[in-house]
Amino acid sequence: MSEDSTPTEHDSGAVRLVHPGERIGAHDGVEAGHGIRRLNGELVAMRMGTLREDGKTISVDPLSSRYVPRAGDLVVGYVEGMTNNIWFLDIGASFNAILPMSLAPWKVEFGAVREHLDVGDAVICRVQEVDETHSAVATMKGMGLRKLKSGLLEEIPPHIIPQVIGKGGAMLQSLKSLGQSRMVIGQNGRIWLDGEHHGMRSIRAALEVIRETAHLPGLKERIDALVNE
């Protein structure tokens, strides 16, 4: 997916937790990444999280965060309201995304938006563009983008989505082998499951394990242990 970095646990066994204001040292020639700032020549952590060092940059992987939309993200949104030609979608970000009727997959009459999507409906959509104040425009034109009519949605903090997918989709494969179920992972931390009851239950249990322990080493082993049970 759009996350190209590897989570800390793969780099080495040890995880260093940092808190806001913590001094990390001078590290000359190293760039301050996300959640790090250089103050008086010293690197300072700006948020709670685990430290990640990859040669040129040092950054903090947050332990809790809100979804920040980026163009191209696949997300699951809930319809929160509408005007004559626009839906407002809650995509879990600070601001609602707008879905104009021109970007819906149907031929929508002006003023008849409610006939296609009503308040409370869930949709799989894609973030089309985001402006500098974080307002987003969503689109439902594209492969697999649709209104959700069955299944259930599980929420996971968005920053651990890369771990739900795993290296080369390895974690996703493990999860899928837990039960017969379709899965769509939204970058905003909403995961759509649809399938046979027991399978969905096992997957939800595994997602709970990921949610609680994603920042600790050995996540893959814990999930594989569940698969082998």
Partner: protein, 240 residues
């Protein structure tokens, strides 16, 4: 001297609750106590108890309060009606408005607000049990809750207070010492740089007394900071 014949200290220099002059009440902090909040903290400070919860960043409403270049902090300090022996009328009053304001000002100096334009970060502080020093308790809990919520900050504000009772400078006044005492000096300190982001003073202190109270506060701030960090790390099951 204060009014009445209250004696805050015995001849051995031990206070009523067994502390020495520069000693704090025991502090315990726990993170993540409000599961639906983005970040939260529970603090027990002597007999004071408070919960702070952080929500956001979220869209600021109504629109006129939005800032195009930064987020706003919406801090609400509130005492539960049952938090003191006299029932407190629910809702805002002059005192809670003041404390909400000073808390907001203290936190604004560390939170990286420019990252979230047009947004609002809601900080709710609820005092469950009050025994002198609730504003310090609230600010400290709010800092931990903000860190727990993953809000970028340059440091965590630690708030502690020293005061004076029977002409003796004391760290962290308890209820009788506060009631019969002559002065109170709450401070908000950034422990990494020893910068000051908040200071209030009730009553009078001489220069020497002020210096002593200041030194007590600075020392105590680092003790409380260690407890805050420990609470945050415990929440995520790791050590630094």
């Amino acid at each position: 001297m204060g009014y009445g014949d209250y004696q805050c200290m015995d001849e051995n220099g031990i206070r009523e609750d067994g502390r020495k002059a520069d000693e704090m009440r025991p502090v315990e902090i726990e993170c993540g106590v409000v599961p639906v909040a983005d970040g939260s903290a529970y603090i027990k400070w002597g007999k004071n108890e408070a919960i702070a919860a952080v929500y956001g960043p979220m869209e600021a409403h109504p629109r006129k309060i939005q800032r195009q270049d930064r987020a706003i902090l919406d801090v609400r300090y509130n005492m539960a009606p049952f938090s003191t022996s006299d029932r407190i009328r629910p809702g805002f009053n002059r005192r809670s408005r003041e404390i909400s304001k000073v808390t907001r000002d203290a936190l604004e100096s560390v939170v990286d607000l420019e990252l979230y334009p047009r947004s609002k970060i809601r900080v709710e502080i609820e005092i469950i049990c009050a025994e002198a020093g609730t504003r310090c308790c609230g600010i400290t809990a709010a800092s931990v809750a903000l860190a727990d919520a993953g809000i970028p900050m340059s440091d965590m504000v630690v708030s502690v207070a020293a005061g004076k009772c029977n002409g003796i400078v004391l760290m962290d006044l308890n209820k009788p010492e506060d009631n019969y005492g002559e002065a109170d000096l709450p401070m908000g300190i950034l422990p990494m740089t020893d910068e000051l982001v908040f200071l209030q003073m009730d009553g009078d202190l001489s220069m020497e007394e002020f210096q002593l109270a200041w030194d007590y506060n600075m020392k105590a701030a680092h003790e409380v900071h260690a407890i805050m960090v420990e609470a945050l790390q415990k929440r995520y099951g790791g050590e630094s």
